[in-house]
């Protein structure tokens, strides 16, 4: 009950926030943070709950961004049609990639490396398929499916909320328990009748589909497509958000996304020093708060309660 009240309070505050600030700057940062948050929360379903360190998440995000544009342009289905088709495409690709990795029982480091290789394949395809993707120059998106920062704010907030609800329901169901079993001891899960292959694949594909929606929105808010969306930097950024926010609560990665999206804008140094300071803050916080901001806060509250 207390948790429900807390959630309602945060939701109300976020809904009312644009009334308090007219600043386009603040809203823009929040839109980016919400969309990155979607990406981090969905990644955490695969990583924090099912225990699979997928490096394919950035690829799902970037493929969907490109596919939304290309489907919209070449099939004439419009932006939202493109979003749905892109998610379907990403789902199909994820099932294939996941099936290969899980059929060969790739675990931990091996799974990360092979999914990274698939991710690089996708990035190189985007980079070199000039006629479709305009290569390294990327594409400027002229279309404005959602107009104005305020509208974007509510769309991004809504998308994040849906992602959180879906992940919350999954994690707190029998399927979430199967995910946890796989992360903690998959051999035992197997003898208890859990189809390890199936639920790894479900977690991986569900996470990728949510990343796809995030990618379709993100690119159009940004207004451009470029191969960097699919790069290892994006993957590492997602991991950093999850580690910083926390892995053991569905919404915790959003905290990491907020901090890491806002931080570069709050540090007023020259570009070189800024990356150094940014990196140092990240390393320091992960060393001091191994359970992330969420874990540290929860511990603090428990100590004082």
């Amino acid at each position: 009950m207390k948790r429900l009240a807390g959630t309602a309070l945060v939701a109300a505050a976020l809904l009312a926030l644009p009334l308090a600030t007219q600043s386009d700057f603040v809203l823009t940062i929040l839109v980016f943070a919400f969309l990155q948050g979607m990406l981090a929360v969905s990644f955490n379903l695969v990583f924090g709950y099912a225990g699979q360190l997928s490096m394919f998440h950035a690829a799902a995000f970037g493929i969907a961004a490109y596919a939304t544009h290309l489907f919209g342009k070449h099939l004439g289905v419009g932006y939202w049609g493109g979003v749905v088709l892109a998610a379907a495409l990403v789902a199909a690709i994820s099932v294939v990639v996941g099936a290969i990795c899980f059929r060969f029982r790739l675990r931990e480091f091996y799974f990360a490396v092979v999914t990274l290789a698939f991710s690089e394949m996708a990035r190189l395809t985007v980079l070199n398929w000039n006629s479709m993707t305009n290569g390294s120059l990327g594409i400027n998106l002229q279309e404005r499916p959602i107009d104005g920062t305020l509208a974007w704010y509510y769309v991004a907030l809504g998308a994040l909320a849906i992602t959180l609800v879906v992940c919350w329901r999954l994690v707190h169901s029998w399927m979430g328990r199967a995910f946890v079993a796989i992360r903690l001891n998959d051999e035992l899960g197997d003898t208890l009748g859990i189809n390890v292959f199936r639920y790894k694949l479900v977690a991986f594909t569900a996470g990728s589909i949510m990343a796809a929606f995030a990618g379709s929105l993100y690119a159009y808010f940004l207004g451009s497509l470029e191969p960097g969306l699919l790069s290892i930097d994006t993957s590492l950024g997602i991991i950093a958000m999850v580690l910083l926010g926390g892995r053991r609560a569905v919404a915790a990665p959003v905290l990491g996304a907020l901090v890491l999206t806002a931080l570069p804008h709050l540090i007023h140094f020259s570009a070189e020093i800024r990356s150094l300071v940014y990196g140092a803050i990240l390393i320091f916080s992960i060393l001091v708060m191994p359970q992330g901001i969420y874990g540290a806060a929860a511990q603090l509250i428990r100590r004082h309660a």
Binding site: S173, W174, R177, A178, A181, T191, G193, N195
Partner: protein, 255 residues
Amino acid sequence: MLEVRGLTKRFGGLTAVAELSFSIVQGEIIGIFGPNGSGKTTLLNLVAGLARPTSGVILWQGTNIAGWQAHQIATAGLVKTFQNPQLFPELTALEHLLIAGHLALKRRLGWQRLATLFRHAQASQTLAHRAREVLALCRLDAAREARAAELSYGEEKMLGVAMGLMCEPQLLLLDEPASGLGAEEIANLERVLRDLKREGMTLCVIDHKVGFLRQLADRAISLHHGAKIAEGTPEEVLRNPSVVSAYLGRAHAAI
């Protein structure tokens, strides 16, 4: 209900299980004994799908399940516990049982269980209720909220049995449930297994010595070098000369 015919498992040049045949009848407790290295654990792993047989047939209710995957065999109603307790670190005893309730939910609801992802209150209540029953049956009520790392060795092993029961098996395979336990814990285990027998559960228990199963088992099989050397009541098996010689020098351990 289970019939094993000509089951063989070789690891390279080593034959762990050799041309083994036996059957298990519904409602009985069958004990499988043999010195260390006689192929008992390998046998259970073959039956439970954790290892693939080199040759032979494992008929479970008329279907050959040799080579099936472990989760398929568990779904078919044949569940195994581990000699060295396998647990989910960080989780409490109750959470272990909720995870192990997966199969019961799968059997009861089939694909309809997908609907419970969106309204799961009732399904999870039934599950939690069953988990409490199983904890009580296994004398684990006190450990309900304890995390895996906080359990004693005896409790860890008993939690393995409890997880097996949550799967609602028709045949429960227990891999040395008594090894490493103190006298009191063994007495406790014996009580739990008796309760299970009374409820009509079929049990296959392996151990390296006859020990506590002497009173409990309806039938015993003795293995040596992966082959069956004796079968009968526990007393008959113990008197069998080849069993005695298999344990020679360790005769006391056997009895």
